[in-house]
């Protein structure tokens, strides 16, 4: 099968492109920077370039493909709402159109559990329909609209399946893991509340294998959304301790009440909107909610439909992370 992977320079995109390529498929990638994945053909360009632009990279990239795995997105806690809209909604629309025009038959849309999350605890529920009007923040809202667009494009000769990996982490992750470790090293990582909220996460290899499984299963399960996790929820404090332990830094030892963190998050978000900083803000309301309420999912339908089970357990993941930090301190 010839497969186009968009957003393959990101942490997850790279792993997905490598996995699918290793499985014997012919992989092409499409993003602004080199993907760094061996054995794949990189095509550079942006999904925000209108599809009808002459010589647009996307049209070239998708031509001759049997399948598309669409990961390219703007992932951030804050930022210009118009940019989220342009990349996540407009970009998805553009990729869908280009894929359909090129006669692609399978489309795996990589989404996020936050598209159906209204801010309260999630304890063992399956994927609910994406709900942009309830979503928290620009990222979740635009990703929700993107998923609805993708599923609306599902058609007999165009099998669309949406997968929502939850909190993907692993060695080499600059988004989540490095930030946690960096903060903890500087003593600036608090626990929100008692750190007891059960959170399920996805080890990078499991996220990649699940997306690969969705690609294989697309014609069988098209039109559906699936949450992807390790299926091993743990109290958030244990997860942070596991990550910090792997990086050999002290685990968070001080607490911030969850309500205070949520309030501070709202305030900081407002300030960041007025005077955007160079880094991500230290706390947002969305992040405070994510870190102080339970987030774990019913994985039965995912595993049965995709004929997939996670290969790497949480503890094995921590061991691999520790090995990574030992090699690259």
């Amino acid at each position: 099968m010839r497969v186009l992977v968009t957003g393959a320079s990101g942490f997850l995109g790279r792993a997905v492109a490598a996995r699918i390529s290793a499985a014997g498929h012919e992989v092409r990638t499409f993003q602004r920077r080199p993907s760094g994945v061996a054995g794949v053909e990189d095509v550079h360009g942006s999904i925000t370039t209108p599809a009808d632009t002459p010589y647009a990279g996307l049209a070239y990239a998708v031509s001759g493909m049997h399948a598309v795995v669409h990961l390219a997105a703007k992932v951030s806690l804050t930022g210009d709402p118009a940019a989220f809209e342009a990349v996540n909604v407009g970009g998805t629309r553009t990729v869908l159109q280009a894929a359909a025009d090129a006669g692609v038959s399978r489309f795996v849309h990589v989404s996020s559990p936050s598209v159906a999350h209204a801010g309260s605890s999630i304890m063992g529920s399956d994927a609910l329909p994406a709900a942009p009007e309830q979503a928290r923040g620009d990222y979740a809202r635009t990703k929700a609209r993107a998923e609805l667009l993708a599923l609306a494009a599902d058609a007999p000769a165009f099998s669309v399946v949406a997968v929502r990996p939850h909190l993907v982490w692993g060695p080499g992750d600059t988004q989540l893991i490095d930030r946690i470790v960096d903060r903890a090293r500087r003593g600036r990582l608090p626990l929100l509340g008692r750190g007891a909220a059960l959170i399920d996460t996805t080890y990078i290899d499991n996220a990649a294998s699940a997306i690969h499984a969705a690609l294989d299963a697309a014609e069988r399960v098209h039109g559906q959304s699936y949450v992807i996790t390790n299926g091993e929820p743990r109290p958030i404090a244990e997860l942070l301790a596991g990550i910090c332990g792997a990086a050999n830094v002290a685990a968070p030892a001080w607490r911030v009440p969850a309500s205070a963190a949520r309030a501070a998050g709202s305030l900081i978000e407002a300030i960041w909107r007025a005077r955007p900083g160079t880094d991500e803000p230290p706390m947002t309301r969305f992040l405070a909610e994510q870190l102080s309420t339970a987030h774990w999912f019913d994985q039965r339908r995912t595993r049965a439909d995709l004929a997939w089970t996670p290969e790497v357990s949480l503890d094995e993941g921590f061991a691999r992370l520790a090995a990574h930090y030992r090699q690259t301190p």
Binding site: M123, G124, G193, G231, P235, A258, A294
Partner: protein, 953 residues
């Protein structure tokens, strides 16, 4: 409208116009204004607008007079589904509700039909002047209403079979329809209602108040007070949107005229206009032979249990379920719709005629009794009281306050005297007598006197706590209460029903204060006089007659009354004989009430040790030794709580005490699980004795038994848990030697409770992936499932808990009496039973079911752990496993287990554990302080682990 029943016409004679009213309070109501029927307002919660329709119906006496009805009907929905209904449920609401009351049944019936179950058409009417039906401008007494309903069903062309369903005053109207339509009637269902108000018995206070002069109109019509009061009776309270549903047709005083009319139509006085019709219905229901279901909410200030008693007396074949905790608005408080559809499936669809015969056994001749006893291989409970009535051998010894010896002769005589005395004061066979007497010679004598005359003894344990005991005693509705001072004071203070008899004498003012009618001494002399006059005792009860109602501990939900027949209680005695050799001449120390009371039935002599029975922890080792010495006891029965203190006070034993204890042959700890070490310590005090601990429950005493040696052998048979073999150098796992890593026969873990007792069979109903025990009953080894037992001494039934009773017999073999214990476990290849927990505590993960006891036992082998509870959080089917620990030393506050402890727990358990929490103390049941309340822990852990408030469990 040609159909007409002869029995009714005389009453609705032409001379009695319904508007011609005298002697009813209706004349005190404001003049009602006519208004046409309408469809309900839109958007009422739970009400499908497609159910609503209007019908214009002529009165049968005068076709020119027509009335508009609003009714709910799922018939069109069933038509659309293309299913043919098996029958129609005709629902009649009471006052001040409307057909909205039955919305749940309409929805459930359609849903059941959609899923392929038998389809029931549900028609729920709004009575005239009520709901959205016509405001007729006339007062409609009971007879008129019964006629109105008949006119409506005629107009609808309703064909059989019809099941009526009524609530409150609608119950009476529905019964009126039922007795008038035998050709259509196939069954009767009722929710809290009444058909009879005994003359001279006051009507319920709330109604008395509403009927008060100057109150009726303002309370029921001018203001929504009566409506609001009724809606406030729901447990838990109704949501605002449901309240709005009930209020919708009654928003103005003009719309509420019917509410006042209904209250005014309550036949308070004998001369009330509706009295004859009420009496006609009340008497006619006695002749109803159709299946009947009574669903009841006991927390009803209006239709209390006494009205249920009256209905049961009129319809003894009725199935009854009391929903503990529910009240007058049962339809809102409990899932009556599921119960109704379940019952319809059993009683009407599957076997339309099998429940018509009365359930209560009819009187059997004495000779028939003898044959029945012989067939069962048992004797009546009073057998040895007759056989040994001339013996001066010791029957009983009371150690408290001073040793008192009672011979068989005296015991037999006392029992006969008390029995005669009870008959004299009016105790009849089948009457219920609540015994609030501590274990003693008095209790024994009273108990045997009651059972001899066929009265049913009600035994509830003080361990239930006062509120639990109150619920239990009220639910058991005793006709008489025989008690010592504390029990009678409680009975008085808490308003328990029943005439009071005291075992002790009271000074007259005190006796009046606590409402004591007789003392035991009076009963004895009354009985003696009666016997001397040549009046013998009544015929002996039959083996199939009810003998006792025992209450469950309440540690697994509200206490349930469990009915035993004479035959079944005798079978308990026989099981004690077969298992422990307790029989004629055996000396028995009776430290555990249910078994100990059966000593006289076995011809054994028993001794009650010196202890405060309400606090078993007060029993000392010396007191046990003294009791043993008093009757040369060879068998000792104790409760685990008592045993703890006996072991703790062993140092006070004298050489003489030790010598006495050395004569004990068997010793039994019964009532709750016990640790091997405690049993071993107790056994050390009785060196010649075999130590036993039985497995059983109130519904089935003595189902299995294990000795201390058996416990040790079972422990040895379980190979130590080994972890998954390490990965070998070449990356492949090394096959483990079979003696260490193969899952052992008892990999599921659990507490071994031994083999089934002589007359008991134990089978397992395997759990499916969702944790439901749906498997065919099997004796196959290593199948984990619900433990199901059968024995001649298993309970007869639950008392007025039809749903519970039905569930407890689900999947039973036809013709055999099986009881589902609610415990989960497995049998091993040696035929031993292992208990793995309670059914509701089974954890259902995405990878299958996990029972709690095995993981708990493995966690408890960790040196830092004193006690562990293993619970699930999250939805069934995808639950996460959580360990909650009590540590050594005890934690001062709730916290997450430190990393090393959590890792140790995870490695012991083997399956994924989401979280490990440490608490200062695990919640346990009040009665035994040993059964961990896993349900509560699960709810608590769910809160903590969702990021909720950090509380103690």
């Amino acid at each position: 409208m040609g159909r007409c029943q002869g029995g009714r016409k005389w009453f609705l004679g032409p001379k009695r116009s319904v508007t011609e009213i005298r002697a009813t309070p209706a004349s005190r109501l404001p003049r009602a204004v006519p208004a046409a029927a309408t469809l309900p307002s839109s958007g009422l919660a739970g009400l499908n607008p497609e159910w609503s329709s209007l019908a214009e119906v002529a009165e049968s006496e005068d076709a020119a007079v027509t009335h508009g009805w609003h009714l709910l009907d799922n018939g069109p929905e069933l038509d659309a589904l293309g299913v043919i209904p098996v029958g129609t449920i005709l629902c009649v609401h009471g006052n001040p509700t409307w057909s909205y009351l039955w919305r749940g049944l309409l929805a459930s019936a359609t849903e059941a039909a959609t899923s392929g179950a038998p389809a029931w058409r549900v028609i729920a009417v709004d009575q005239l002047d009520m709901g959205f039906s016509e405001r007729t401008g006339t007062f409609r007494p009971l007879a008129r209403r019964v006629q109105d309903l008949g006119d409506l069903t005629d107009a609808l062309g309703l064909a059989g079979p019809v099941i009526t369903l009524g609530h409150d005053w609608g119950g009476v109207v529905s019964l009126g329809w039922a007795v008038d339509h035998p050709e259509l009637l196939a069954g009767v269902m009722l929710l809290n209602t009444a058909v009879h108000q005994p003359a001279g018995d006051p009507i319920p206070a709330p109604l008395r108040l509403a009927l008060g002069r100057g109150i009726l109109g303002p309370a029921t019509v001018a203001t929504p007070a009566f409506l609001a009061t009724t809606l406030a009776l729901a447990h838990p309270p109704l949501s605002q949107e449901v309240k709005r549903g009930y209020q919708a047709p009654y928003l103005t005083s003009a719309r509420r005229s019917g509410i006042g009319g209904f209250v005014a139509d309550i036949p308070v006085a004998l001369e009330h206009e509706s009295r004859p019709e009420l009496d006609r219905i009340a008497e006619s229901v006695r002749k109803l032979a159709v299946p009947t279901l009574l669903l009841w909410g006991p927390r009803d200030p209006i239709f209390s249990d006494r009205y249920l008693d009256d209905l049961v007396e009129r319809m003894p074949h009725a199935r009854v379920h009391r929903f503990e905790g529910a009240g007058h608005l049962l339809a809102e408080d409990a899932d009556y719709a599921a119960a109704a559809l379940l019952w319809l499936g059993d009683a009407v669809v599957s076997s339309p005629r099998d429940v018509t015969a009365p359930v209560e056994p009819s009187e059997t001749a004495v000779s028939g009794n003898r044959a029945a006893w012989e067939a069962a291989g048992t004797h009546p409970l009073w057998h040895y009281l007759d056989e040994l009535q001339d013996s001066d051998d010791t029957a009983l010894v009371d150690m408290l306050p001073a040793p008192r010896t009672v011979s068989w002769r005296l015991l037999s005589q006392r029992v006969r005297q008390i029995a005669a005395g009870l008959v004299h004061i009016g105790v009849k066979p089948g009457d219920r007598v609540s015994l609030l007497v501590p274990p003693s010679a008095d209790l024994t004598a009273v108990l045997y006197a009651c059972v001899r005359i066929g009265a049913i003894v009600v035994v509830a344990d003080a361990g239930l706590g006062l509120s639990g005991l109150t619920r239990a005693v009220r639910g058991a509705r005793p006709d008489f209460v025989i008690g010592a001072a504390p029990g009678l004071l409680a009975a008085r203070a808490l308003g328990w029903p029943g005439r009071k008899i005291s075992v002790a004498g009271f000074v007259a003012p005190m006796a009046r204060l606590i409402g004591v009618e007789h003392t035991l001494a009076e009963l004895i002399s009354l009985g003696q006089a009666r016997l001397s006059a040549g009046d013998g005792l009544p015929p002996e009860p039959a083996p199939t007659d009810a003998a006792a109602v025992l209450f469950t501990s309440g540690s697994t939900g509200p206490a349930k009354g469990v009915v035993y027949t004479h035959g079944q209680l005798s079978a308990v005695s026989r099981a004690l004989y077969l298992q422990y050799g307790v029989g004629v001449g055996t000396g028995l120390v009776a430290g555990f009430a249910p078994f100990a009371l059966l000593g006289p039935a076995l011809g054994a002599r028993s001794v009650t040790p010196d202890m405060d029975v309400t606090a078993p922890k007060t029993l000392t080792a010396s007191a046990v030794a003294a009791a043993v010495a008093a009757i040369d006891a060879t068998v000792v029965f104790l409760s685990p709580a008592a045993l703890v203190n006996v072991v703790a006070t062993a140092s006070a034993l004298t050489p003489v005490d030790h010598a006495a204890l050395a004569g004990v042959q068997r010793f039994l700890s019964a009532g709750a699980p016990i640790s091997e070490s405690l049993l071993a310590q107790a056994a050390a005090l009785m060196p010649e004795a075999t130590a036993h601990t039985p497995y059983g429950m109130t519904e089935g005493l003595l189902m299995a038994d294990i000795t201390l040696e058996g416990i040790r052998a079972a422990a040895a048979s379980v190979a130590p848990l080994t972890t998954v073999p390490a990965v070998a150098h070449d990356g492949e796992s090394v096959p483990a030697p079979p003696d260490t890593a193969t899952p052992t026969a008892n990999a599921a873990g659990g507490v071994c409770v031994g083999r089934s007792t002589a007359t008991t069979r134990i089978r397992i109903s395997a759990l499916d992936a969702s944790g439901a025990s749906v498997g065919e009953l099997t004796e196959e080894a290593d199948v984990t499932g619900e433990i199901v037992v059968s024995a001649p001494h298993v309970k007869d039934r639950y008392d007025r808990l039809w749903l519970t009773e039905r569930a407890s017999r689900r999947g039973a073999v036809a013709g055999e009496r099986w009881h589902r214990t609610g415990d989960v476990g497995h049998l091993d290849s040696a035929g031993r039973l292992w208990v793995e927990g309670r059914m509701p505590h089974v954890i259902v993960t995405a990878d299958g079911v996990v029972t709690p006891v095995g993981p708990e036992q493995r966690i408890e082998t960790l040196p830092d752990v004193f006690r562990a509870a293993f619970v699930g959080v999250g939805p069934l089917g995808t639950q996460q496993q959580v360990a909650v620990l009590e540590t050594v030393p005890r934690a001062r506050r709730v916290h997450r287990a430190p990393e090393e402890l959590a890792a140790a727990v995870r490695s012991m358990v083997g399956t994924p554990v989401a979280a490990v929490l440490v608490v200062p103390g695990l919640p346990t049941d009040i009665r035994h302080n040993s059964k961990i309340d896993r349900g509560r822990l699960s709810r608590w852990a769910t809160g903590i682990l969702s990021g909720g408030r950090w509380t103690k469990p």
